[in-house]
């Protein structure tokens, strides 16, 4: 070997060795795998080298690789839902990292008034629903999606129309005659209704229930506060979401009425001369006639619904944005009924500099609603004759006779189908809410925030009736087409300024202190313009009327410039927590409202709440393996309610409207100035609700079982009561601050994670709430209230009783006691009379409040006090229409890795309902022939006065006397009893008017299968191939079954009553529907 070669080789090796040393000193490649607690690899975990911009994201197998990592650096491993880990890089190059579940549930943030708080620091009673739970329910109105999900929050969709009112009551509600709706806040801005918000835009909904949470809203918070937070942008790559769904809907059922043959046999009871439906011997021909089922004609079609939404959100550290568009389109089950809504929402948040942040958001919605808004929506003088009300009892066949000698030649001449086809209604609602806020944080912990928002609403309603629908119009001029156009412009603004200060270690070690003071002003007002035109050419159609309004006679245009509803408020809150275990919250708010006169304007509403996190105590540490959370909460506070029309302060005059009856000097209508029918009261002031709440939040087995129990006692005093005044005063009512009510109740909710494995998981949630209201003070003595669903009929008069010590919703009536038989009555030669016994005393009582004819088969009421007559003293309590127990429960879970499902039930127990539809179709009302009755009165069931052989009226003078002459009196009675053997219910032909009875009031408890949903998420591998991050397809069934003993269509209904003091009547309700929806959600 050469020496030169050796030197060269040695040099090269040395050089190589040195190079190796140098590269080692510069950094090495670090690799590893990140898995979760069960050993499953986590995808998308961020692994960063601390202090540098180097890092990596784990792949499908949870593996990552970072080159050039210097020795001594630290890896920061973070992923949402897991606790962040920091790992020092020493000699290791490969790491197997296991991330632990973050105890996230307690750090969840909840929105409270004017701020947010983490759940662990809450002292009040707040229930929350998140976006996922809402997205599962395919309804237009997001309030409906909340049904049964929050304990103590009772949500009733009053009927099935697309824009039906959804009544929300938090813990019963204190008012008797006023609206008990809670306050709705969307992104800090109070709104009058949340029906126009797209569920896809909602991040979460929080409901504040007790005064310590609602006191910060002062005068409007007495009935609870529902806070909706919409989705905001977040830092990171822009995320695009797209969703679409399509579904079909059908009505849930109908009221059973008599078939054509049964119907003509019933009409035979009313009229035996054979002119209307044929001679008695020929009536069986009707068995082959199908007849028209008007409920089917009006509500039987298959509706459909479509929903689309698309949203983009993303941002950088400085600027975050969220833009979304959604559309809801529905063709509802009733003819001419439909709903279309478009929502556009834009949210922008940007840091102007180190201290200033600017938030801008705008919510725009445009809605078009076609068709009637509900069963009571009618222009007739009485809603008892509305199209929906008549659709149950209208005759299924046409009469043979030409001679129409109807008692009222009104709307009743035309079939419901003709009337609905002649009715046009279109509502358009354009709404826009714009908010801007500026936050200034000069030093850490001190925040100034100023918010300003402005809202516009333009609501137009166009209604046109063709000739067939105007036979009984409230405007008069019946028989010719009419049009009624209304426009409402509503505006509102709000300015709020708050200062928040956070400080730690203020008074003692380990304490947290947060104080907020603020000021707010709001104002809202509306202007109305109403135009009425009547007397169009009789054959004009809806389109012709709309196109040429000039063809009609214009009645005076009405305008109304509304009173501004202004409030000015000052408020403050202190939160103090010591050792993370002892929490204190105190708030106070002073509100001034323009609805009250000087001296009564201002109200002050303080509250205080305490909480103790028992699970954090040292003596509880040994239980920490099974007890993860135990918190005791106590709160006491006051809130106010000013939901009253501002015009009751003074006596004022305004022009009569086109539907008010006026005098016609020289045959032309005279204009008149009229006062309201409410006596003014300048001493009106706030209603105040005092709430006391005690609650326990618990969590077991590392939050596998979580939940809370709350017990509360609310008292509402200075109730704004609508007092009925004596008729001689010339006024019907006056509002006064008298009276006091209270609500006591208990709520329980729990979430149980039954299983949470790799491939499958199952969660069970349950809530139940019991509430009992009471009228503590009711000055002026007990009163009877009438729901008047039947117009002026006795059946809907004075059936609700309000008294001190009683409660809202108490229904009183007579007890149905069967029928009069030949044991009770005897024929006396000219008519039927009550039998007398040996001493000459009558064996039973007379008809009393039932009007009609007294004969075998007549309706008999119970003489409760045995005084021999049926009168108001025989009224007994039939039930209460407010359900005391409400709640819901459900299961949700996932299986087979990619499938997920949800099943949710909601229920209400213990209340009754007045079945007005059944009652209205159960007697010969007002002696009006040619109306149907319900199918409880088939020939097999009802007592009959028709002789099956000849078709004559067995109970009248001719037949009776002839039969008795031929066969004797006892044979006559035997014959009647023979015809009617086995019959169970009274003969409706004998009753022309009747009061409310126990037969009409039914149990309304129900269990509803509200939502069944099953979804499939495409495996990541497939969706990524399509350049989509997440694809989920799903199918949902909504309102599929309702288990109930109620004989009507749906027990969850509340419409057609005249005042809030008469809740719980089912009459002429737009039927509800069930729907089946399929859809897809894609995230790009």
């Amino acid at each position: 070997m050469d020496l030169a070669n050796l030197v060269r080789r040695a040099g090269a090796t040395l050089l190589l060795a040195m190079l190796c040393l140098v590269t080692f000193a510069q950094g090495k490649t670090v690799t590893g795998t990140v898995v979760d607690g069960t050993g499953e690899p986590l995808i998308g975990v961020s692994v960063l080298v601390k202090g540098t911009t180097a890092g990596a994201i784990t792949d499908f197998d949870g593996k990552f690789s970072i080159p050039n990592v210097k020795a001594g650096s630290t890896l920061v491993v973070s992923y949402i839902g897991y606790a962040t880990q920091e790992i020092k890089v020493d000699d290791q190059t490969t790491f197997n990292i296991t991330l632990a579940d973050d105890a996230q549930l307690l750090d969840e943030v909840v929105v409270i008034g004017y701020g947010t708080m983490s759940k662990r620091d809450l002292t009040g009673s707040i229930a929350s629903v998140d976006a996922e739970q809402l997205a599962a329910v395919p309804v237009n109105n997001v309030s409906e999606a909340l049904t049964g999900k929050m304990p103590g929050v009772s949500i009733t969709t009053t009927e099935g129309s697309p824009d039906a009112e959804v009544k929300i009551r938090v813990r019963g509600g204190g008012s008797l005659s006023q609206d008990n709706s809670p306050l709705y806040i969307v992104d800090g801005f109070p709104v009058s209704s949340i029906s126009d918000i797209a569920s896809a835009d909602i991040e979460s909904i929080d409901v504040l229930k007790d005064a310590s949470s609602t006191a910060i809203y002062g005068a409007k918070g007495a009935n609870g506060v529902i806070i909706i937070t919409t989705k905001s942008g977040h830092e990171g790559k822009p995320q695009v979401n797209f969703g679409a769904s399509f579904g079909i809907r059908k009505r849930v059922g109908e009221v059973g009425v008599l078939s054509p043959y049964e119907y003509v046999m019933y009409q035979q009871e009313l009229n035996q001369d054979g002119t209307n439906y044929g001679l008695y011997q020929d009536l069986d021909i009707w068995k082959s006639v199908e007849g028209t089922n008007y409920q089917e004609e009006l509500f039987g079609r298959t509706g459909n619904q479509q929903q689309y939404n698309v949203s983009v959100n993303g941002g950088t550290k400085e600027t975050k944005y969220a833009v979304s568009y959604s559309r809801n389109d529905e063709k509802s089950v009733m003819i001419g009924s439909g709903y279309a809504r478009n929502n556009i929402t834009v949210k922008l948040q940007t840091k102007l500099n180190k201290w200033l942040t600017l938030d801008l958001n705008d919510r725009f919605s445009y809605t078009e609603i076609d068709g009637l808004s509900g069963g009571a929506d009618t222009q007739e003088s009485s809603k008892a004759y509305s199209i929906v009300a008549r659709s149950t009892i209208y005759r299924p066949i046409t009469r043979l006779s030409e001679d129409f000698v109807d008692e009222d030649t009104g709307n009743t001449d035309f079939t419901p189908l003709e009337r609905i086809n002649a009715t046009y209604k279109k509502q358009t609602r354009l709404q826009n809410n714009a908010n801007a806020s500026l936050t200034w944080e000069p030093i850490e912990g001190l925040k100034f925030r100023s918010e300003y928002g402005y809202g516009w609403r333009y609501n137009n309603t166009d209604q046109v009736w063709e000739a067939k629908a105007t036979a009984n119009s409230k405007f008069g001029y019946s028989g010719q087409p009419q049009a009624y156009l209304t426009k409402r412009v509503q505006k509102e603004w709000r300015l709020a300024n708050t200062v928040t200060y956070d400080h730690k270690n203020l008074l003692a070690k380990q304490d947290k202190f947060n104080v907020m003071i603020g000021q707010e002003m709001t104002s809202s007002w509306y202007d109305d313009t109403n135009m009425t035109s009547v007397g169009f050419p009789t054959d004009n159609t809806v389109d012709q009327v709309l196109a040429s309004m000039g063809n009609g006679t214009a009645l005076p245009t009405e305008t109304y410039i509304g009173i501004k509803d202004n409030t000015s408020s000052f408020f403050g809150r202190i939160n103090y927590s010591l050792l993370d275990r002892y929490l204190l919250t105190a708030t106070v708010r002073a509100d001034g409202s323009s609805k009250f006169t000087d001296g009564n304007r201002w109200g002050v509403f303080p509250s205080v709440a305490l909480a103790w996190r028992i699970s954090e105590e040292s003596f509880m540490k040994k239980a920490s393996d099974w007890l993860s959370n135990l918190k005791l909460r106590l709160s006491f506070g006051t809130a106010g309610n000013n939901r009253i029309d501002a015009k009751y302060m003074y006596t004022t005059y305004s022009l009569g409207s086109t539907s008010d009856r006026t005098i016609y000097f020289g045959e032309s209508a005279a204009s008149m100035l009229q006062r309201g029918d409410m006596l003014s009261n300048p001493d009106l002031k706030w209603e105040t609700t005092i709430t006391r709440n005690i609650g326990i939040d618990f969590g077991f087995f590392n939050s596998r079982i979580t939940g809370s129990i709350d017990a509360y006692w609310n008292t509402t005093k200075d109730l704004l009561m609508r007092q009925t005044l004596p008729g001689a005063s010339g006024y019907s009512y006056q509002y006064q601050n008298v009276g006091q009510t209270s609500n006591r109740g208990i709520e329980f909710m729990t979430d149980i994670v039954i299983a949470d494995k790799n491939d499958w998981g199952l969660n069970f949630s349950f809530n139940i709430a019991y509430n009992r209201g009471k009228i503590d003070k009711y000055p002026g003595g007990a009163t009877w209230e009438s729901s008047r669903w039947s117009g002026s009929g006795v059946i809907s008069q004075e059936e609700f009783y309000l008294e001190e010590g009683g409660r809202l919703g108490e229904v009183y009536g007579y007890i149905y006691d069967g029928v009069y038989t030949t044991d009770d009555l005897q024929w006396n030669g000219t008519g039927w009379a009550i039998r007398t016994d040996a001493e000459g005393n009558p064996v039973t009582h007379g008809l009393g409040t039932v009007t009609g004819s007294l004969e075998p088969g007549s309706m008999k009421l119970k003489d409760v006090n045995n005084d021999g007559v049926i009168d108001a003293n025989d009224k007994v309590r039939l039930g209460n229409t407010i359900q005391p127990v409400i709640g819901g429960f459900g299961l949700n879970g996932r299986f087979l890795k990619n499938f997920d499902f949800t099943v949710f039930f909601n229920y209400q127990l213990g209340g009754q309902i007045i079945n007005g539809t059944k009652a209205a179709s159960s007697y010969y009302e007002g002696s009006r022939q040619h109306y149907n009755v319900n199918n409880n009165f088939t020939m097999a069931n009802r007592w009959s006065r028709v002789d099956p052989v000849t078709g004559e009226n067995m109970m009248n003078r001719n037949f009776a006397n002839d039969y008795i002459a031929a066969h004797g009196e006892q044979a006559y009675y035997d014959y009647i009893n023979g015809v009617n053997s086995g019959k169970s219910i009274y003969n409706p032909a004998t009753v022309t008017g009747r009061p409310l009875t126990s037969w009409d009031v039914e149990d309304a408890s129900f269990l509803r299968l509200q939502t069944v949903s099953i979804g499939y998420t495409l495996p990541k591998a497939w969706s990524q191939k399509m350049l989509m991050q997440n694809v989920r397809i799903y199918a949902t069934g909504y309102n599929l079954f309702c288990f109930t003993g109620y004989s009507g269509v749906d027990p969850e209904v509340d419409c057609c009553t005249s005042t809030p003091m008469t809740p719980g009547v089912d009459y002429a309700a737009y039927p509800k529907s069930f729907s089946i929806v399929g859809g897809i959600n894609v995230t790009f």
Binding site: G592, L679, Q797
Partner: protein
């Protein structure tokens, strides 16, 4: 630094807006709702308020149906079919004919709507009496009309219900005159006679100042006064025996002289009766001697005009008629 000034300015603006007119902010009214001061100091608005009093007369529960039709059954020219016992005992308008409808629920509507008319009339009367333009000719006419209408409605209340609450002033919001006791009908009728005398002074004759027989006129005020005076002077079934009054049984015999022991049929004493008859005579003389109202010589013509909805502008045989609409039922 600039930023801090900007934000201070913004906060200051925000704060300043809160201080501006805080008291005005909470004092709000609507221009579409007028206060009584505005209404009764303007002739046009006062007339519209008076039209509301007239409008109460056309309602179903007052002179639209109840009083002329339903309350008048069981007379020699009108009765309800009595072939079936349902009708006469019916808890409906039909049962009224036999005074046998104890549970008929619409009677309360008649009561309350009649008092609504009276309340509206009270408001107009008080408004005009307190108005700055009360001496205007038109305002005097309006006052006369309101007084006459109130008297007419009260008289019908007395005829149908007997002793009723006497409410000659508008309802106070503090409730002080909400719950009134019955007042003896003669006291009320005396007060009505005073009102009508005043009204007769204020009102024009029919045909003057554009007043047709659809409005209250001098003739009607005198005529109504005469009727009330004659009614007061006559027999009525009283709630309790009254001193100084004459019992029917003293003046007639047998069946014709029947007077219930608890609810006696009585008339005012002779002195008072004379007064009332003289008043009636004076009122009726005033109408006859004025020559304003005459009988139409042709009954056919009168009937024809009524059916043509044309007012009689020649003879004014009808002294007063309620102007119902043709198109309302």
């Amino acid at each position: 630094m600039k930023n801090i000034y900007k934000t201070w300015a913004l906060a200051g603006l925000a704060f300043a807006t809160t201080l501006t007119s805080c008291s005005d902010f909470l004092d709000q009214t609507s221009p579409s709702e007028m206060f009584p001061e505005t209404v009764y100091n303007t002739e046009g608005y006062t007339q519209q308020a008076l039209n509301k009093v007239y409008a109460g007369l056309v309602l179903d529960h007052t002179y639209g149906c109840r009083i002329p039709l339903n309350f008048s059954t069981n007379s020699d020219i009108e009765l309800v079919d009595a072939l079936t016992q349902e009708t006469t005992t019916a808890d409906s308008e039909r049962g009224l004919c036999s005074y046998n409808a104890p549970n008929w629920n619409r009677l309360a509507n008649n009561w309350s709507e009649m008092f609504e008319i009276i309340e509206n009339a009270n408001l107009v009367i008080e408004g005009i009496r307190g108005s700055e333009i009360r001496e205007n000719e038109n305002m005097r006419y309006y006052l006369g009309e309101a007084l006459t209408l109130r008297a007419m409605v009260y008289f019908d209340l007395i005829k149908h219900y007997g002793d009723v609450p006497m409410k000659m002033e508008s309802t106070k919001s503090d409730g002080s005159n909400l719950y009134l006791e019955k007042t003896d009908r003669d006291v009320i009728m005396d007060s009505l006679l005073v009102d009508l005398q005043e009204a007769a002074e204020l009102l024009p004759w029919v045909g003057e100042a554009g007043y047709t027989s659809e409005h209250c006129t001098k003739g009607f005020a005198y005529g109504l006064a005469a009727r009330i005076a004659l009614a007061e002077a006559g027999y009525a079934i009283r709630e309790t025996p009254k001193e100084g009054y004459v019992n029917l049984s003293e003046k007639r015999e047998g069946q014709l002289g029947y007077s219930d022991p608890t609810y006696p049929t009585m008339r005012p004493g002779d002195e008072k009766r004379r007064e009332l008859y003289e008043l009636a005579l004076n009122c009726l003389d005033a109408i006859i001697t004025s020559g304003r109202h005459q009988l139409n010589p042709s009954y056919e013509d009168e009937w024809y005009r009524i059916n043509q909805l044309t007012l009689d502008q020649t003879y004014y045989e009808n002294i007063f008629e309620v102007a119902h609409a043709e198109l309302f039922r």
